[in-house]
Symmetry: C4
């Protein structure tokens, strides 16, 4: 992978991460747009994720200059420039020819972390190589789920270790999901030339739940994986406080409170609702990350205030990638980072670990809105 | 009734029960659509039913494989494959020429129960005959309400017994309702060739409330019916916890918490609101079923978690029947069943009787929404 | 006033009181529509009135036949057929040439009460005469407010006494209101031939608040009025529990909890919110009536359950009057009455005085709605 | 500045402050409209400000004539005719050629206060001169923020003292804000001939947060300013109760609870939410003012009831200025004042300092709204 990354312009009307969405919708064909924008069921959880962040208000302070303000964040024993990571997202070449490479290079340049999906459309080695040695980059993690063939899975782990990935993010909320998920609803098909190049050729997926369940991993499988690698393990997809405690007992190193962005099961709680309950149950035993609906620096600070050490950003990165390749990704991460610094400064918070529940005020319920403008 | 059932295609864009609604609207003429879609008053209760399920969030577990997962459900002393039943709905030949027969055969094929309405458009014997002996079918129940002529009513009971129905579902929330109900608002008229063929020819209905009230049944009438048949009695239309207790004392065998899908009285609570209160009052004395707004497997699991043993599905079945006859009904029940299995698996729940309130998280109120997209 | 009332058809698509609104909008010119539909400020209170009734759910009972069901209602020492009264509304000839006469005759025919406004467009004697002697009619009350000229006011009282009115309804929430109220916003002007024929010719109204305040009545003025007439006094426009207690101490005979339908001051509470608090403070010392947003029989029963003895219905009566004259008014009152009987029967309530808070269930807040249908 | 102010007509359809918005949108070019209507982020805080006022209901009294009713308000040791002040707003010549002068003259004529922004487009001396000596005017205050060059700042203070301003309003919630704020999103540019004429020529603003933070003021800077002038200091932009207490300890004379109208940081609480908490923390040590979303006299009384001594009105004044110059500003302030008097009269409140929490009733959450009008 030695071709240079595309040099692209940032649209002049993008001032916030969410502004990239409309651009991406225009840039992508219907097939790719359907894949990235899809959600489970009626989208209750997708909307609940956003609504939960918006339902919290931050309480600023005044006249508290925070000259030493910084966003440095300690994760898995190492300090990183920023609490922002790119969430693992599959098949990024659907969004842009430069795919995961553009995302990784841009994240690295912005000091943000990169979680490469095992469903990436580029070889995990090719994604890691150009960024691994960068000074000032963020964490470089590899995401995987349990493969039916444990040997193939171990091979993937070894490749990730060899390529320099610093942790394994194990996704555990997608093993069992609707046989006809969101992608199929949208008629999604992989276009020629784009594939999950890191995974072994898959036999036909089990056509019924019985088959899926027989392959579904359990805590003992996680224990097995724990014994197979020295890389830290990050468990992604936890919502229930007891699951978080079980993970801590089993030697997991961090947890991502996540509902998969509302893509795999609808009607589950917003991550901002469960994050403080998980934090409460863990009592600091494990660092927490969170994803789902992060669109503003304010959302990031709210997440930190609720107990997260860092956040994963998903769709906005893809929208930016689709819009302007690596430049877009760098830009959207920079926007989020700058917004975070500003809101930290406004809240008198000079470092992420100073954020706590005292920053937050619940928003009261409003008076009945008037949907018609005028109603007689 | 020996004509074969119509063989029809499932529309390729149906992936969820609710997707059938738009198809049914196109398939039905205005008269039939009005009949099936109508609701009492302003539709507050109709919407409240849906909103109440959506207002509950399910809390998934991870890494809990549930290999033995099954949906078997015990009702009235017998185990059935599934906690899904088709709600009693009148005049199904308005929706499709195959009418109740298509519904019953499809439900049987999917292991779901069938509650045949006494207002069916086919003879109750003709509906029961082809499914009664099917292995793997669900419960086969007959719904009736109190007829002014108790002799005619007993005759109906005897026919149901003889035809092999396994329980009588006595609807008690429609005896008194608006003289000009939803059907009349929509100008509904029975088309030629479609009739309530199981009921005796009706004299003119009482034109005023006095007349209706003089015919309205009471608890003693239920006691009388209790003494007339050995079939289990299921009381449908209960919302008040005290009524549930009264029913238990009287020897009723099960209760359906129902508001008639918002069709007979507007402004009454959502069934998901009253279900846990009824369950609490009964303390397990009677099995509970619930209906009203069930559209997803998640809704079914939420109902089980709130104390229901099984759920009745109404409009979606009719939509599917109108769209694709028996194939549609089988498909919509299969969708709900598969979704239920998946969400059970995701919540670490291997059998319906494992569901409880611990699965649920209330959804917090959101920040004021922005109806205009941008508001200055 | 001896001309016969117009004979008009009820539109065939009216099945609920609210259905008359669209007909009235078509029947009225913009000037009259503006007058009747106007509201103070942003309409917060107008909408809050409706939302508060909708926010309460009624809990039906089953198998409780209520053969003796009746709506008889005792007010001011006399029993009436119904707890429904027509609210005092000015200038009804703006809505229909038959004006207040049509309304009074129709109300009488339906057993509903009639409160004739001192701003009526027909002579109060002409409105009372044809209905005063009717068997089965409801209460016949006269509404007035304090006139700057107390002599002219007393003359009005004497005329009302002589004409057979059975109580005086004293409106106390409109003495001070926006100098440019809702009517002026809509550019309202009295058309030729329509006037407030019962009131003395008015000098120019005070142009500033100082002038209005100097004429504003106080409790002592009410005491004065109390001493001037043997007619019962009904105080209309009370929201504050302490005002209700003060009225009771002063010898008032009944209270109408009202915010003037949101017409005179915006941002005040819904009447359904204040009614139970007023009832609680009074502890039964005075009978309560309520108005504001009553559109259904369910709303009437909710009002009774919250402590009202009867309800006043405003805009729907005017809509019906504008649509079909006396026939419309009779029809809309009949609809409300029949709906009330039905919902009473469904709730196991055989008389208005059996209604209490046990009939009500608060509606829980819903999950965030999806305003766009689909949101990615 | 001796040119006469423009004589302009008030549009005949303006009856409430908010009615000016549509007129202003037509009167202003896109550039100026963008500047005045812009908001931070998604506008959550902008909407929350309005929703919080609307979410409170006022409880009127009856038969309590308040002949001595007046709006006189004591601020900083002096009595003023009204608790209304014009909020500091920059660059008012963007809205109208007469700019701040029109606003000041109109405010003075209405007895309202005027807070002249240090970013005014006219010389602060020219704005103060024509109004300083007016009998019956409101407070004349000068707003400023900390300038990087403290000498230039002191010079500004001295000019304000010399020009007759009676207090300094120190804005502390805008020192650090998004490098690309709302104006840049809208592509705002200062048109020729309009400038911040009171400020020293600015060097290039710091391009990064580090630069901004190094210039950001702290409590010690406020202490320094406190020592530099005998003018009372009003701290504007406080939301946190602890900041208010700190300000009191430091000798500040009053506080404006403000979130800058949602312009500098999104996702912070509505001012109506924080006002009572700040009041509670201060326990009367300092007088409070509040701004953000005041559009009605009812909003003003709600603010007084929650603990404010006076309110600042922003956008509506600008809308009126853009629409009709000084006449518009006078009119909008008169509307608000008259509405305030009327609602005070209705609530039995004869002076601002009689307002308290007893006037308020929280609005209950409504039943789920029906966004579609009809939903089946």
């Amino acid at each position: 992978m030695s071709a240079p990354l595309a040099l692209q312009q940032i649209p002049p009307d993008v001032f916030s991460a969410g502004d990239y969405e409309a651009h991406a919708r225009r840039a992508l064909d219907a097939n790719a747009w359907a894949y990235f924008s899809s959600h489970a069921g009626d989208g209750l959880t997708l909307r609940a994720n956003r609504a939960a962040w918006d339902g919290l208000a931050l309480l600023p302070r005044v006249l508290r200059p925070v000259q030493g303000l910084g966003t440095a964040c300690t994760l898995l024993g190492r300090e990183w420039p920023s609490p922002l990571l790119v969430a693992p997202m599959a098949l990024q070449r659907l969004a842009h020819p430069d795919g995961e490479l553009a995302t990784a290079v841009a994240a690295s340049a912005q000091g943000a972390g990169m979680v490469v999906s095992c469903e990436a459309s580029l070889l995990l080695e090719d994604v890691a190589a150009p960024v691994r040695g960068n000074a000032g980059r963020g964490p470089l993690w590899f995401q995987l789920h349990f493969l039916p063939d444990r040997g193939a899975m171990l091979e993937l782990v070894r490749r990730a270790e060899a390529a320099g990935y610093e942790a394994l993010v194990v996704t555990v909320d997608a093993a069992v999901r609707a046989a006809r998920g969101a992608e199929q609803r949208a008629g999604f098909r992989l276009p020629p030339g784009i594939a999950r190049v890191n995974l072994p050729p898959q036999g036909p997926a089990p056509s019924d739940l019985r088959g899926l369940l027989s392959q579904a991993p359990g805590w003992d499988d996680l224990g097995w994986l724990r014994g197979q690698t020295r890389l830290p393990l990050v468990l992604k997809g936890v919502l229930h406080p007891q699951d978080a405690c079980e993970a801590a007992a089993l030697g997991v190193d961090a947890i991502v409170v996540s509902n998969h962005g509302g893509r795999t099961l609808d009607g589950v709680p917003a991550t901002a609702v469960m994050l403080p309950r998980v934090a409460d149950a863990l009592g600091g035993r494990l660092p927490l990350l969170v994803d789902g609906g992060i669109r503003h620096g304010t959302d990031v600070l709210k997440a930190l205030a609720l107990g997260a050490r860092a956040v994963l950003v998903g769709r906005p990165v893809l929208w930016a990638l689709a819009t302007a390749g690596a430049a877009g990704v760098a830009h959207v991460l920079r926007l989020l980072h700058d917004e975070l610094e500003i809101v930290m400064a406004r809240c008198g918070c000079s470092a992420p670990d100073q954020a706590g529940p005292g920053l937050l005020v619940p928003a009261p319920p409003p008076f009945p809105p008037n949907p018609n403008g005028d109603m007689t």
